[in-house]
């Protein structure tokens, strides 16, 4: 019986089919988004927590993987990768619902200063607010030209990472970007 896993590396989707052979061997088929298939026979061995090695055409790969939800952090052959495991359920309603006009905090911290107010017109790259994280002040700039429709926090507020800080209505010129 084979198991199927889907991964997304940020630009492409992949499907990996894996069937256990006798002992520690696996027969694997990797299919990319253009349906190119690659067949592999591999043996693998657990080394420790999150660590394992696999042997492919006599080449030994030592690998570490850590997971956080559906994210997979992979250390392989001297480099690090981050990919996402995609479940089939997600695949159906894959449509991204990214909030185009809202500005999110890149890091957790505290809002020291808000340099704009609701209704302000801002240029791309203009300073919007100052967030203090790890005792350093970090300026957050406008990602595009537009007008500030709503500000969700006030000075002194503690914020989490990736929460919307303000709503910016993009002006028409920057729409294409």
């Amino acid at each position: 019986m084979s198991e199927i896993f889907n991964f997304d590396d940020g630009s492409n989707r992949f499907e990996v089919r894996l069937r256990r052979d006798e002992q520690n061997g696996y027969f694997v088929i990797i299919k990319d988004h253009e349906d190119n298939e690659r067949e592999i026979t591999v043996t693998a061995k657990v080394l420790g927590s999150g660590q394992f090695q696999f042997t492919l055409d006599n080449v030994i790969y030592k690998c570490s993987v850590a997971k956080d939800g559906d994210l997979r952090f992979i250390h392989l052959d001297g480099a690090d990768y981050e990919i996402r495991r995609v479940t089939e359920l997600e695949e159906e309603d894959f449509e991204e619902t990214e909030d185009e006009g809202s500005l999110s905090s890149p890091m957790p911290g505290r809002i020291v200063k808000i340099l704009v107010k609701e209704g302000d017109e801002v240029k791309k790259g203009e300073d919007l607010l100052v967030v203090e994280a790890m005792k350093m002040e970090n300026k957050i700039v406008s990602p595009f030209e537009g007008s500030i429709t709503e500000i969700f926090y006030s000075e002194g507020d503690q914020i989490e990472a990736n929460v919307p800080l303000m709503e910016i209505q993009p002006s028409e010129i920057s729409e294409e970007s």
């Binding site: 198991e3 896993f5 991964f7 590396d9 492409n12 992949f14 990996v16 894996l18 256990r20 696996y26 694997v28 990797i30 690659r38 592999i40 591999v42 693998a44 657990v46 420790g48 927590s49 999150g50 660590q51 394992f52 696999f54 492919l56 790969y61 690998c63 570490s64 993987v65 850590a66 997971k67 956080d68 997979r72 952090f73 992979i74 250390h75 392989l76 052959d77 001297g78 480099a79 690090d80 990768y81 990919i83 495991r85 890149p106 890091m107 957790p108 911290g109 020291v112 200063k113 100052v130 203090e132 994280a133 790890m134 005792k135 350093m136 002040e137 970090n138 990472a161």
Partner: protein, 566 residues
Amino acid sequence: MFNRILIANRGEIASRIIAGAQEMGIETVAIYSEVDEESVHVHAADYSYPLGNPIPSESYLNMDKIIAIALESKSEAIHPGYGFLSENAEFAKRVQEAGLIWIGPNPKAIHAVGDKIQAKKSMKAAKIPVIPGYHGGSKNKKFLKQKAKEIGYPLLIKATAGGGGRGMRIVNSEHEFSAAYESARREAKNAFGKGDVFLEKYFTHIRHIEFQILGDHFGNIIHLNERECSIQRRHQKIIEETPSTALDDDLRNKMGEVAIAAAKAVNYTNAGSVEFVLDDTNNKFYFLEINARLQVEHAITEAVTGIDLVRWQIKIAAGQELQVQQEDIVSRGHSLEFRIYAENPEKQFLPTSGKIRTVQVPVGVNIRNDLGISTTGGEISTFYDPMIAKLIVHAETRDDAIQKMKWALRNYAALGIPTNITFLREVLNHPDFVSGNTHTDFVTEHYHKWKNGKTETPFQVLLAAALFEVMEPFMSSNTNGETASILNTIDPHSPWQKIGTWGRESLDVLSDRVSGTIGKGKAAIKKIIPVRSDDIKSSFIRDLDPHSPWKKIGAWEHNKKSSRKY
């Protein structure tokens, strides 16, 4: 020598000091805030006391709490590490007033170098070259702007009480002055409690060279050669090396002598660093500041000189005379330190936080790992510095050291949140780094808007990801309790079946502490009766299956205790 000392710090530096003290037969007391309860330094120490609220001012910066714990734990001395209270003259003084010994420079010297303006004046008086600037202490923005014009742009606004790049702004032209001034003042006030700033000429293409110094209470003072710390981002060092590629023996001796003169000008004692900027086009150098503490990058000096700086800090504080003389100091080979940070180099090196799931460090000849978190992972919290670890290598030549560092970084895995590891790997391959052409603008010049250049995901990565999914149940893991069903799948007759509970047992014992309070009112702190690591092990042994082979390790406890006497 001391019997017991308290380490008023956390993470990697606390662990390093704890190990150093334990080697000398000194017992160690760790302190920890709520979020650090499971931190490496707590487990490394002989005793541990909670600080409660993780906010720095309530924990590692809280002088009352720390002194109360030092007295309560019968510590004889306090080592402050770096950062936090390490360069706080008032704290050093209060430690001494409480009848404890301060493992660091005398409070007068800390005060003399801590006020950057005062320090420059002392240096000028001692005929030590300082950077042109305005150190007059005025708070008048208009006046300062005029002074800025006289010094010329680009210039630096720096917090009088600053350090670590906080409260510091580069101003490229007059119209940027006001905003930069306000922002520097605000950041300085938040970080150091004082918003005072001074102005200095900003050199764009210079090297940052510092000399390690050691002074005792008998008037002996020596330097242990230089460290070059030119490669920085956000005004904080990320790569350090010794020796510097810019110094020959003549310049080294000259700068070393000036460093000693600078230290003598403020009657400096214990370990410290005299920082200079060096213009390598004409070999002119200027005094920048004295860091009155053990530096993050002290390990590279230890590597090339073979001298244990923490050991000397403790010996000097205990009243011993320096036994090494200037002529005994010989640097051998080349050492590099790369700092591993939880940060995103693609987003202006902004700090990241969250859970590191696994850390695997390279092990080999002359490779040193100073870790701030456990190899089974840990939390990088937003309360403290985002440095995860330091990787230090030592080899015969600079080329060998680079080669060793390349291998070490390739075999370094800190997974779970964005780190600077990939970035550091790239720096190692940069021709300017390889040739030693390193200046403080290295990162901005070569890596402005750096992007991780990975194009396609190799198929092996996808293979690894899929193998992980099927093999994960067979990997023992101690994070999040997503553990290890391997024990259930193996031979039921295996003796390993019996030790199934040990991980959990030991944790339960660790958290099983009794609470009470020290002090009254605002100064009251939650006290948890410390559990000796010996007690932990013995109670854990008690709780185990009576037939377990681990029962037999009682004798080991005994040995450990008796070894303390040496």
